[in-house]
């Protein structure tokens, strides 16, 4: 049985009157990629920053590699690596200088040249930080996070703001780390990222974990259904949509209707008939297999990107 390297129990973090994290609990096993999935402002970054020792929790307990982030900050920092959501380096610091500088701070280090090679930054080793593209900066951030060969790697929204191609590059790197059995805690608001990269996911909203499990387990919450997302010319009653043949559930989200269908074809036929009878029109229709977004919608009535 795998050992938990990270344990969080009833974690609370407040900023003035705002309770950003409200009793979050989870644990992460060694070699596992664990995702905190949730919309912006859900409390993901606050949670991860408490674990990194950057913020002080107002309640609850957390241990990383058996260390309390507040009591043993320097010990902890030697054991973890992190890519922060909002961070930077001095403009006139060269890539090779940055990675060597940070390598010099740790007891245990990996070869900086090897890391630059691995992250495709060898040609940029003499470039200043402000000469790097967004993707190169993020690859450097990842290389620097690994410079102490950390036991746990924290990635806070590692692909936020990056274009799709760079995002895919970062996914490849994270998948490689996953194959190396690196323990990774990842926060994201991208469904695709959580589904593709994480062994287990905790869905977090308004400072609370509202569901957790493997992506497959979470999606099974939606039953063995297909998701129809329809936009209509005029509003319709969700109760009436729920009664249609083949439809298991119906929700209104942002002016669209999400129907969970056990049998897709009869559901579409009955929907069209119903709309005709109501004098309503179908503006658009999308068919998809359930995703973690559906789990989130089911649990909160909102979309993740809201």
């Amino acid at each position: 049985m795998a050992n938990p390297v990270l344990q969080v129990e009833n974690l609370v973090k407040r900023y003035g009157d705002v309770e950003a994290v409200r009793g979050v609990s989870f644990s992460v096993d060694e070699g596992e990629v664990f995702g905190l999935l949730g919309p912006n402002g859900a409390g993901k970054t606050s949670t991860i920053e408490v674990l990194e020792g950057l913020r002080v929790a107002d309640g609850g307990r957390a241990t990383v590699c058996g260390l309390d982030p507040q009591r043993n900050p320097n010990e902890l920092k030697n054991e973890i690596g992190a890519v922060l959501q909002a961070t930077s380096l001095p403009d006139k610091l060269r890539v090779s200088e940055a990675i060597r500088l940070f390598a010099s701070f740790y007891r245990r280090t990996r070869n900086p040249n090897e890391l630059l090679r691995r992250f495709g930054l060898e040609e940029k080793r003499h470039s200043f930080y402000n000469q790097l593209s967004g993707g190169q900066k993020q690859r450097l951030a990842l290389a620097m996070a690994l410079v102490n060969d950390p036991k746990v790697l924290f990635l806070d929204e590692p692909t936020a703001g990056l274009d799709p191609q760079v995002r895919r590059e970062i996914y490849v790197i994270i998948e490689e780390l996953k194959r190396e059995k690196k323990t990774i805690v990842l926060t994201t608001h991208y469904i695709e990222e959580a589904e593709k990269l994480c062994d287990r996911v905790a869905i977090i909203d308004l400072g609370k974990v509202i569901a957790s499990g493997t992506p497959r387990e979470l999606k099974q919450r939606s039953g063995d259904t297909t998701r129809l997302e329809v936009r209509l010319a005029k509003p319709a009653a969700t109760e009436a949509l729920k009664q249609l043949e083949g439809v298991a559930d119906a929700l209104e989200v942002d002016g669209a209707y999400v129907l969970h269908c056990q049998r897709t074809a009869p559901a579409i036929v009955s929907l069209v008939k119903y709309l005709e009878a109501q004098g309503n029109e179908l503006v658009s229709l999308e068919i998809a297999t359930p995703s973690l977004e559906d789990v989130f919608i089911e649990l909160t009535g909102r979309r993740l990107r809201d």
């Binding site: 950057l54 920092k77 200043f128």
Partner: protein, 296 residues
Amino acid sequence: MKTILTLAAVRIRITLRNKAFLFFSLIMPLAIFFLYGSVFAKGKPEAVAYLMGPILSFTVMGTFWGLSMQLVTWREQGILRRFRLAPIAASSMIVSSILANYLLILPTVVLELLLARFVYHVTSFGNLISVFVLVILGITAFGAMGLVVASVTNTMQETQIINQLLWFALIFLSGATVPLAVLPHMVQRVGLFLPATYFVYGLQRAMLADAHLYTLGTVVVSLVAWAVLAAFISSQLFRWEPEAKLPRNAKLWAVATILPFVLLGIWENHNGKLLATAAYMMEGRPTENTPPADKR
């Protein structure tokens, strides 16, 4: 120690690549040097020697500006957050920045002394050991003051405003621009509460009166006390993150750094020794043993 040295080396490299640094730490001090030497001193060696104290003070005092701006920029841009993830203490960040400042400022000081020697034919710089000890103390003390400013301000704008106010007070009330002896009496009295006044005075005494460190005891002790106090307070108030809250009494702590000079100002206003010596130094080059105030 290794962390401090590595950080200092990187800071030096980054700073030397910054054009603003070259302007403020090399071009501007040299422009002031030539302005003082050619215009105010009219190239006369004795007059240039008299003005070397204020010239070096300009170079050294300016360090607080660069340090405070760099720290606030690094905090605003999230650079300090990245450093905070590594096992680095706030004291290492502070000590490394002051250490880097020695190596960045001392070459300009040496260059100014060499230019005074070879361009304006100044034959003596008095007690050079005292001069260099005072310069080192000045870099530490004014640098630490910059770090305190960076700790109690939240944005670049705020830092700029505080820096401007401090800079004008330091250069106009201390004798660094207009000699202390010719300033209006009231301004002289206010100037006696400023560290810059003692710094300019100490440098002038070392250069014009060959003053040994022990005869500059009051100046040295007050600068050491100020440097230690400011460095301690900046380490207590150091903030890695822009949103990190300042302790409620932080600004009081910052004000506490002026305590040695409040006491010194009261003392010097009472005995008038410094003002008398400053007036005497302006009239002619005294020897170490014959400043009029020492005869009293």
